[in-house]
Symmetry: C2
Subunit: 471 residues, 2 copies
């Protein structure tokens, strides 16, 4: 199936062998230290010599791995290497740090080199005054493009798209397209598909470059193009656009405005970051860790996390109040106090399992109205099996350890009930939040934990009281 | 910045207006029901008419949304639409379901149409006997390609790559490349870059198709190609390959064998699924939810989840034992039993936050040896702030509610301590697991929860006992 003959080569050729990287393609601590030592000793030349061979993404990593109080010195030493490509690859917080120290005209110079989407990413987080100063320092056409992009909502396709693209009229032949591409110096080289548009600049098809290359010059482009193409509305949320790229295995997609005109293009390399971010975000949201970025300033992390801890405190008070109702029962048999966290804890874990599955299925559009009831029934079945297993284990264990079969039966029944409740809460809470337009990843955890804690204590202590358990 | 003039178009053109899809590009329940009703009433023709306009990814979704006991009937009605592209897009479990019902020669027919990587995805999960039967029924060259792919480890680049690619010698001109592409009917059309190889078939550069198209025929391809290219070793884990695609914004990458020869190509559309899966996996692993797929058979979900619940039960017993040590203290003041889950619970939440951040930072290669200590110090600072805030709130609240300042002081001190311990456990547990080669997402949760539960109870009850608190 390969296109050319494979010939035997005897010697072993090491494929990736830069000493600056470890086996997992991360910069080594020795390399980072080496660069910073040269910067500290005033050897900017030596630092530059080390860094110059690196890919812009690695230079961005180098800044991220440098302690924040030494980044300005590093930037000064490497100033000519710190270009737009490096900034575009950089973590938002680290970039803001560096950008803040630059003059507006320096930022404008960097932004002018970049595609619209990368320029917007650099400018959108600046203070309004600084932003205006940078925009004023830009060339008029770059400025217009960036201002238009900034007019779209944050995290929308309009912010993400680049306006440089190749659009050709539908009556052209493949030869016309080839001549146009080769004859116009100013055209972008960063494209993978050609869009075919009608007289009103509405997309009517798209054509992968491999098709342009494999087709004789005389054939009409409209005979080669794919007529079915995924169009991204300019105000579509970036997460939805990312799901489309994934679902339809797109390399690039045309972005259209409200009237259906072609206004830009999104390429998959910009989307890959979003897919990765959005998929990874759920875990951070579920745990209440906010942005969850290790480069975030401490005070920002504190603010986003403490809110959830306070919310958690409030739900813990509910559970505590429930325990308070049974103080008389506990006073009669203190062992109950030692056993009750088991029922609540394992129930909480079971709820978290179901919740994680449900949140992922919702995020990837796998769970829709068509299979909601089936999924709920499925989770209840799993919960029944899990509950039965854990209940038998803990029931027998407690009955033997305390030589108290009644205590064993109570904890087994409570465990079974709580795991079942956990399974239902784990699927119903995210579904309900989604139904009412809330992000299921953000608030599910608080409600599910409150349910499993409260019900765990209530069922266990309630059963103990009702069956007249005493030590 | 756009390449062609934009003309004003008055009418509003709706971009995506298929009634089969809802606003988020999911199939509507009405559509799914409509298809299944036609299948049930024997109207295969009508079902096919509804489904035919759909993209293969949507047909795959239709099968996923259909209850498992009706999928065979749907497959029978739509047999001619159920081709390799649809199967390649389908959820693994749903596909296995369908494949199991097909004869080996039918599977072979489908696999023969596909790229190697998609064919491998279909065949690799089959029982060994069935797999052999399918391989026997394949054409010899397809069979050889698939057998070679299957010889690479699961989840490696070798399984993921396609062997159809365009490789050209370095002495060719752009014109030679164009003539070669246009003159050979058998070449693949699924490529975005041309690889340039030396006489030993080692890659020496790559050239995006846009560069081939924008360059005059007479120029040597070696003057246009990029000499720096990311090579993927054939045995590299797919997750690592995905990180490379993301870091270097790749569209496709050459895969090389141990001796450095070009043996295949991976394109970004195959990688996007992996990035999404791997990033989403962490949340499922952390919660102990196994594969976490809503299409997984109930017994498989049960088996993967119950293991973690039993592990959680074991760690809950540790916490329970610690409480048991203080039964005398609790007997003197039963209120302690009602308050102690607050200390453990909020501590657990704080630990989960830090753990989620650490696991994500490790998974995305943001946390390396160079910034480990900085990250630990950072998390301790956040924990001190969080701990102080929550301690003040709960301390004052409890002191007032129970008119017992000493009790308030004890719970505040315990909360502060436990949140600090939680912050350290949340970052140190995943780091330690990673250092010893374990997947930090898999086992971190159990250890962190055990720490925060046990220490929460121990510190709170221990302080209460030590300070001689009584009701």
């Amino acid at each position: 199936m390969t296109e050319t003959e494979l010939k035997h080569v005897p010697e072993d050729v090491s494929v990736v062998a830069e000493p600056s990287h470890d086996a997992e393609d991360r910069l080594t601590p020795e390399f980072v230290t080496g660069v910073l030592e040269r910067v500290d000793s005033g050897d900017a030349e030596g630092a530059r010599a080390l860094v110059e061979p690196l890919h812009p993404a690695d230079i961005a990593d180098l800044f991220e791995l440098t302690p924040s109080d030494r980044r300005q010195a590093l930037a000064a030493a490497l100033s000519d290497l710190l270009d737009g490509d490096v900034l575009a690859e950089m973590n938002d917080y680290v970039r803001e740090d560096l950008i803040d120290a630059l003059e507006p005209h320096q930022v404008a110079e960097i932004a002018g080199e970049l595609d619209t989407d990368d320029a917007v990413a650099i400018i959108e987080d600046m203070e309004e005054d600084d932003q205006r100063a940078v925009l004023r320092a830009l060339a008029p056409d770059d400025r217009a493009a960036i201002e238009e992009a900034l007019s779209y909502p944050e995290e929308s396709a309009g912010r993400l798209m680049q306006r440089d693209l190749i659009a050709v009229p539908e009556h052209w032949t493949v030869g016309d397209v080839l001549d146009y591409l080769r004859g116009n110096e100013d055209l972008t080289t960063d494209f993978w598909e050609v869009y075919v548009v009608d007289a009103a600049h509405h997309p009517v098809g798209c054509c992968a470059l491999s098709w342009v290359l494999r087709t004789p010059r005389s054939i009409a482009i409209s005979d080669v193009m794919a007529r079915e193409q995924t169009l991204i509305p300019v105000d579509m949320d970036q997460e939805e656009a990312a799901l489309k790229f994934q679902k339809y295995a797109l390399i690039s997609a045309a972005v259209v405005d409200q009237s259906g005109r072609l206004v830009g293009m999104i390429t998959v390399d910009d989307i890959v970051h979003i897919i990765q971010e959005e998929a990874g975000e759920d875990i951070l949201k579920l745990s209440g860790a906010g942005e969850g970025d290790i480069n975030e300033p401490v005070m920002d992390s504190y603010k986003s996390r403490v809110r959830w801890l306070i919310a958690n405190l409030a739900t813990a008070l509910v559970a505590s109040t429930i325990i308070g109702l049974f103080e008389g029962t506990i006073a009669q048999m203190v062992t109950l106090a030692a056993l009750m966290p088991i029922v609540a804890g394992v129930g909480g874990n079971a709820g978290t399992q179901t919740m994680a599955v449900t949140v992922r299925a919702l995020a990837t559009n796998q769970l829709t109205q068509s299979n909601t009831w089936r999924t709920i029934r499925r989770e209840i079945r799993v919960a029944l099996l899990n509950g039965a297993t854990v209940a038998v284990v803990i029931g027998i264990g407690v009955a033997l350890a305390f030589t108290n079969p009644q205590l064993g039966a109570v904890i087994a029944a409570a465990m079974m009930t709580n795991i079942l409740i956990a399974g239902m809460a784990g699927v119903l809470v995210p579904l309900t939040l989604e139904r009412y337009g809330a992000d299921p990843a953000v608030a599910s955890s608080v409600f599910v934990t409150m349910t499993t804690d409260s019900m765990g204590f209530f069922v266990f202590l309630g059963l103990a009281a009702a069956t007249g358990l005493t030590g």
